[in-house]
């Protein structure tokens, strides 16, 4: 049994990482109404790349962020142009995107399994096994670096969205797509940009995932449902909601884990999802009907 404050510290640290993992998912839905079920599959792919970068090239997972980010960004834009642009204008567009990304997730999962088998991996940089103590509290060193990196990237993203022309265009498209077109936003280009950013966040999250949590190809299903749960809790398409949802559920899951054991910590997210659908289906910060 851990003390309440310790749980809060660990939970918030974890929540920072979850927020980064989910932010791209939320943005992709908000800007384009694409429900990207392959988001976590790309995250796991990013984790594999970071893992092999460490094993073979001795590149630290934190450094591999600098590789994964741009790589997945470009890959995302290509993917968007090839797979999602042809769906534009389809009736029941979101449904089509979710089926398409479902297929994409399965393809990537199978490919990863064929390449790297199904065994559990965990990157092991020197700081992964160390812990830092602050008085009577502790925090794993790797977790601290991951959280710091997440917060730094989230802040950069926030600044980009608030202060730059393209960032504002992304927010505008999220709030009202037609209005964005009316003021001259090329929504197709902005969508590609947002999708690329979403994928970049998946790749970067993968780098962090590689040394925080053991992973194997099929693991992404658990991740995607965890991430989607907190996106629904926050309100689909609300970026602030996603961050708040991530922090809340991370703390709750650490708490559950300290009582029932780590096996049951994913159940926190599923239970929260059902509760949200029962009590407030539009989520904490959602306005329009989902």
């Amino acid at each position: 049994m851990t003390s309440g404050l310790q749980i809060l510290i660990l939970g918030l640290a974890l929540g920072g990482v979850y927020a980064l993992m989910a932010i791209g998912l939320s943005m992709t839905y908000g800007v384009m109404r694409i429900l990207n079920l392959s988001h976590a599959a790309f995250m796991v792919l990013g984790a594999y790349l970071a893992y092999w970068a460490l094993q073979i090239l001795r590149i630290d997972p934190l450094v591999s962020i600098l590789i994964n980010g741009p790589l997945f960004f470009i890959f995302g834009i290509i993917l968007y142009r090839i797979l999602f642009v042809p769906l534009a204008g389809r009736p029941r567009y979101t449904e089509a995107t979710l089926l398409l990304s479902f297929g994409l997730a399965l393809s990537i999962e199978g490919m990863m399994g064929a390449l790297w088998t199904g065994i559990y991996r965990l990157a092991n940089p020197p700081y992964a096994t160390r812990s830092l103590a602050f008085g009577s509290f502790y925090i794993p060193e790797g977790q601290m670096y991951a959280t710091a990196a997440s917060l730094w990237i989230l802040t950069a993203l926030w600044g980009f969205l608030q202060k730059t022309r393209f960032g504002r265009a992304i927010r505008a498209t999220m709030q009202n797509r037609t209005a964005a077109q009316i003021v001259g936003v090329n929504v197709e280009r902005i969508s590609a940009l947002a999708f690329g950013l979403g994928m970049a966040s998946a790749g970067i999250s993968g780098s962090l995932l590689s040394f925080l949590f053991p992973f194997f190809p099929g693991k992404h299903w658990q991740w995607i449902s965890i991430l989607l749960s907190l996106v629904v809790l926050g309100g689909m398409g609300s970026l602030i909601g996603t961050v708040v949802g991530a922090l809340m559920l991370a703390v709750a899951s650490v708490y559950v884990s300290s009582i029932l054991g780590p096996t049951w910590s994913p159940a926190t997210f599923y239970a929260a999802l059902f509760l949200v659908l029962m009590i407030r289906p539009q989520g904490l910060f959602g306005k329009r009907e989902v």
């Binding site: 297929g103 994409l104 399965l106 999962e109 199978g110 099929g218 299903w221 449902s225 629904v232």
Partner: protein, 333 residues
Amino acid sequence: MALLDQIRIVIPHRLETRSLILLSLALVLFLLPILQVVSDGYNYVLHVLMVIFMYIALASGWNIIGGYAGYTSLGHPVFFALGAYFSGVLLVYRGWSPFWTAPIAGLVATLFGFAFGLVALRTRGPAFVISTIALLLLARLILDNWEWVGGSNGLSLPMIGWPYRLYKIPFYYGMLLTALLAMWVSYRIRHSKLGLFLRAIAMDETKAEVAGINTRMCKVIAFAISAFFAGICGALWGYQQTYLRPTIFLTIGAAADLVLINLVGGRGTVAGPVLGAALRVGLDELVVNQFGSTELNITATGLLMILIVLFFPGGIIGALRERQRLPRLLDWD
């Protein structure tokens, strides 16, 4: 043709050729086990057909919510597992035969589907599919850790007490009847008011609501009916396998199967899931079992899904109908 004409005289109702062909096909399927009784060696054929029947029932059931209403569910393996564990536990602890408890297992799945649907179908659109993934993973987590039903090691069931030569036959008939029931229900719903409402929901839920349709109830009922068939199939399949294990029921791959079968055949049509199921099992027997690589299987499933969504969103039935090449034999809508 002469024979068909004669039958037409014997049967008082006016029957089209199409119905006659389908009825004779059903008759052949009903009589087929006689071959196995007379001379051994047909167990493999019976087994493959049984699996096809099962997928027909599962996919036709899925189609009611996933096709007619357009709400993709990845949670159907949960109902399948629910049926299997319900009947399996009664068999192990009470000795009741799953052949009698299967319909009850179906009803239990229906009730559970209704309750879950009331929560998950409150909203429009993508929140539902998210909740079904969560349901699947939660069920997996629970069954993996619930020792009374064997946990992740699973539960062994006693074998059916029939001689080896005949033991496939009751399962064959069980699945055949379930498949016929599923097809009949699917057809009836397609041509009912509920079916009309469901298709209205698929096209534009807001408009359907404005038109005065209680969309939530329609969706929940469709989802519950759809769970029924998964429950029955689970009960029979588990007994047939003689063991229950979370890994064989509760996987995303199993959920993907149902989606893919419907996508290939044609979502929202009566014949689509039937065609898709036959193709899925047939291909599996011909190709996949030769190579037997699960990774390739998953990749192929995924790629196929992408290609269909991009190029043939209506599946085989939809593509044929669009080109006005759909044979009458397959036009069941």
